[in-house]
C-alpha cells in the first residue's frame, strides 16, 4: 500500500511541530552554552572556559549532594525494581481474579496523586516517626523514593510480560524444570530488557525528584536537585549551568539506552 504523503499533511502542522522542537531545545542549548562561559555572571558571554565545571567539582556541597542522590537512587531503584518485577509477575498473564484491579490501582497510586500532596503526607508521617524513634538518617528519603519509583519500574516490566506468552515456560515445566528453574532460565532472560528498562526509569525518576525530597529531607540531606533549587532561588552563577549540563548529559545517556533496550521487542 503506497501512502501518499500529501494526503496526510495538514496545513501548518509541520510549522507548528518544527516550532515546538525548536522551542523545546533552544533553552537547553542556551543553558549548556553558558556553562562554558568564562565570565563571572550570566549577563554576557566572554569566552569559552571550563572554569565553572572545575568549580562545581571542587564544591564539596555539590559533590556530597551528588553522591547522596546516586546512593538514594541506586537503593530505591533496586528495591523498587525487585518489588515491581514480582508484582508484574503476579498481575499479568492470568485470568482476572479478585483484587487484581485493586492491585493495579494501588501500585499506580503514586502516579495519580499530585507530588506535592504525597510530599506533605510523607512530611507529616515521617515527622511522627522521627519523634517516636529518634532516627533521622537517609532511610526516610530512600523509603519515599522507593515508593514513588514502584509504578515507574512496574510499567515497562508489565508491558514486556504482556507481550510474552507462557508457552516456553510450560514447555520447561513439561521437561520437569522446577518452577524456580523455569523462572531462572526461561522467564528471567526473556523479561530482562523490561526489568532493565524499569530499573533505569526508576533510577532517573529518583535522581530527578525535587518536591518529595525537599519536604522529606532532614537538615544536611540535600540531594543534587534540592541543592540546585536552593541555589537557583538565590544568586545564579554559571556554576549552576555547569552542574545542569552534566546532569543533562547523564539523563540523555540513560534515555538513549532506555530507548534502545525498549525498542528491541520480541
Amino acid at each position: 500500500m503506497a501512502r501518499r504523503f500529501s494526503v496526510q499533511r495538514q496545513r501548518g502542522f509541520t510549522t507548528i511541530a518544527i516550532t515546538c522542537f525548536f522551542a523545546l531545545y533552544l533553552p537547553i542549548v542556551v543553558l549548556v552554552f553558558y556553562a562554558f562561559n568564562s565570565a563571572d555572571s550570566l549577563s554576557s558571554f566572554q569566552g569559552v572556559s571550563l572554569r565553572w565545571f572545575a568549580r562545581a567539582f571542587e564544591n564539596q556541597q555539590v559533590v556530597d549532594a551528588s553522591l547522596r542522590s546516586l546512593q538514594i537512587a541506586a537503593v530505591a531503584a533496586t528495591v523498587a525494581t525487585v518489588a515491581a518485577t514480582m508484582a508484574a509477575l503476579a498481575t499479568t498473564r492470568t485470568e482476572p481474579y479478585r483484587g487484581l484491579t485493586l492491585k493495579y490501582a494501588f501500585i499506580n497510586q503514586p502516579l495519580m496523586v499530585p507530588e506535592i500532596v504525597t510530599a506533605v503526607a510523607l512530611l507529616i508521617f515521617f515527622a511522627r516517626i522521627k519523634i517516636w524513634t529518634g532516627y533521622t538518617g537517609l532511610g526516610y528519603l530512600i523509603a519515599a523514593h522507593t515508593a514513588f519509583c514502584v509504578p515507574f519500574a512496574y510499567l515497562p516490566i508489565r508491558a514486556r510480560l504482556e507481550n510474552m506468552d507462557s508457552t516456553l515456560e510450560k514447555a520447561a515445566a513439561d521437561l520437569y524444570a522446577t518452577p524456580w528453574k523455569a523462572f531462572r532460565y526461561v522467564t528471567l532472560p526473556l523479561l530482562w530488557p523490561g526489568i532493565l528498562a524499569g530499573f533505569m526509569l526508576a533510577f532517573v525518576i529518583s535522581l530527578d525528584d525535587v518536591v518529595i525530597t525537599e519536604f522529606v529531607k532532614s537538615a544536611g540531606q540535600d540531594t543534587l536537585p534540592t541543592y540546585m533549587l536552593g541555589q537557583i532561588r538565590r544568586t545564579i552563577t554559571p556554576e549552576m549551568n555547569a552542574i545542569s549540563a552534566l546532569f543533562l548529559l547523564m539523563s540523555i545517556c540513560v534515555v538513549i539506552v532506555f530507548f534502545v533496550v525498549n525498542r528491541k521487542r520480541v
Binding site: 501512502r3 496526510q8 495538514q10 496545513r11 501548518g12 502542522f13 509541520t14 507548528i16 511541530a17 515546538c20 523545546l24 531545545y25 533552544l26 533553552p27 537547553i28 542556551v30 543553558l31 518489588a83 514480582m86 508484582a87 503476579a90 492470568t94 481474579y97 479478585r98 483484587g99 494501588f106 501500585i107 503514586p110 495519580m112 496523586v113 499530585p114 507530588e115 506535592i116 500532596v117 504525597t118 506533605v120 510523607l122 507529616i124 508521617f125 515527622a127 523509603a143 519515599a144 522507593t146 514502584v150 512496574y154 526509569l201 535522581l207 530527578d208 525535587v210 536537585p225 533549587l229 537557583i232 532561588r233 549552576m240 549551568n241 545542569s244 546532569f247 539523563s251 534515555v255 530507548f259
Partner: protein, 305 residues
C-alpha cells in the same frame, strides 16, 4: 485430564501465590505513599500546634480556612480572598496550560506520526529526551531565557525594538510559559501513541470523497484521536495543578499557585491542618479530573508510558 475440583484448588493456590508475590510492592506503596495520605485527612480535622505540627484537638478550622478567614478580633468569617484567588489562579493557569499544550502538542504528535518509519523514531526520541530530563533543570533553562538580561530581552534590545528589558520573570505569564514548556512532552506522547494506531486509509477515503483537509481533521482525525487527546490533557492538567517547582522559580515569591500555598502552611505559615485541608482539596480536584477521564475514555485509551 484433571478433575474440575483439582483445577479449582490449583487456581486458588495460584492466586495465593500471586498475592504473596505482589505483597512487597503493595506494602511499600501502602507504607510510603497511600497510608500517609490518610493521615493528611486526619490532620485536616485537628488544630494547629504553636510551632507547626498539630494538637490532638478536633477542629474544623483547617477546612474553614480553605475558603474563609476568621477575623482575629470580631471572630466573624469572611471569604479568604488570598486563598480563593490562588485557587482560581491555579485552576485557570492549569487549564490554559492544558489548552496551549494541546494546541501545540497535537500538531507535533501528528507530525511525528506521519513521518516515515525510519525518521519517526528519531523525532520520538527528541520528544522523549525532555520528557525524562529533570524538570528543575528545564525550568532553570526557561528562567535564563526570559530573565531581564536573558536571551529574549537581549535579542530584542540588539534589534532596537525595545530600549529597556521587558519584565517577564515573576509574572503569571512566566509561570504559564514554564508550565507549557515542561509539560509539552506529557501531551505529545499519549497523543502520538493514539495517532500511531490511526488507520490513514480512512483519511485517504475521506479525501477521495472530496473532503477538505479541515473537514478531514475535524470529522476523521480528531474523533479518532479523542482518547489520546483526553489522556494527554489529563496528564498535563494534574501535575500543572499541583505544580510547585515551576511557579516557585518563575513566579517569584508573589505569584503563588496552590502547591506553594500548601508548602507555606508547613513552613512559615505553621498551619498544618490548613495545609492538609488544602492538599485534600487539591486531590479532590485531581480525582474529579481522573473520573472525567475514566468516564470518557475508560480503559481503551490508557496506552501510554
Amino acid at each position: 485430564m484433571t478433575q474440575p475440583g483439582a483445577n479449582e484448588a490449583e487456581r486458588s493456590r495460584d492466586i495465593r501465590k500471586r498475592w504473596l508475590l505482589s505483597l512487597p510492592a503493595l506494602l511499600i506503596v501502602l507504607a510510603a505513599a497511600t497510608g500517609p495520605l490518610l493521615i493528611v485527612v486526619l490532620y485536616s480535622f485537628l488544630s494547629p500546634g504553636p510551632y507547626g505540627d498539630v494538637q490532638w484537638q478536633p477542629s474544623m478550622d483547617g477546612w474553614i480556612g480553605v475558603f474563609l478567614e476568621r477575623d482575629m478580633f470580631t471572630e466573624t468569617l469572611s471569604i479568604a480572598d488570598a486563598h480563593v484567588s490562588i485557587l482560581i489562579r491555579s485552576v485557570m493557569l492549569s487549564l490554559v496550560t492544558t489548552v496551549v499544550t494541546l494546541l501545540f502538542g497535537f500538531p507535533t504528535a501528528y507530525f511525528i506520526a506521519t513521518r516515515p518509519e525510519r525518521t519517526r523514531e528519531l523525532w520520538l526520541l527528541l520528544i522523549t529526551i525532555p520528557f525524562w530530563t529533570n524538570l528543575l533543570i528545564r525550568t532553570f533553562a526557561v528562567l535564563q531565557i526570559i530573565r531581564n538580561d536573558g536571551l529574549i530581552n537581549g535579542v530584542l534590545m540588539k534589534l532596537g525594538l525595545i530600549t529597556r528589558p521587558i519584565q517577564m520573570l515573576f509574572t503569571d505569564g512566566a509561570i504559564l510559559t514554564g508550565m507549557v514548556y515542561v509539560y509539552l512532552p506529557l501531551m505529545v506522547l499519549p497523543v502520538y501513541a493514539n495517532l500511531e494506531k490511526l488507520d490513514f486509509r480512512l483519511v485517504e477515503a475521506a479525501y477521495d470523497l472530496y473532503a477538505t483537509p479541515f473537514r478531514v481533521l475535524t470529522r476523521i482525525i480528531i474523533p479518532l484521536a479523542k482518547p489520546g487527546l483526553i489522556a494527554g490533557s489529563i496528564l498535563v492538567f494534574i501535575p500543572a495543578l499541583g505544580a510547585y517547582v515551576t511557579p516557585s522559580i518563575l513566579g517569584g515569591g508573589k505569584n503563588l499557585m496552590l502547591g506553594n500555598l500548601i508548602e507555606l502552611q508547613f513552613g512559615q505559615g505553621r498551619n498544618w491542618p490548613l495545609g492538609s485541608a488544602l492538599s485534600i482539596t487539591l486531590m479532590l480536584i485531581v480525582t474529579a479530573a481522573l473520573l472525567f477521564y475514566v468516564r470518557n475514555v475508560g480503559s481503551q485509551g490508557s496506552r501510554h508510558g
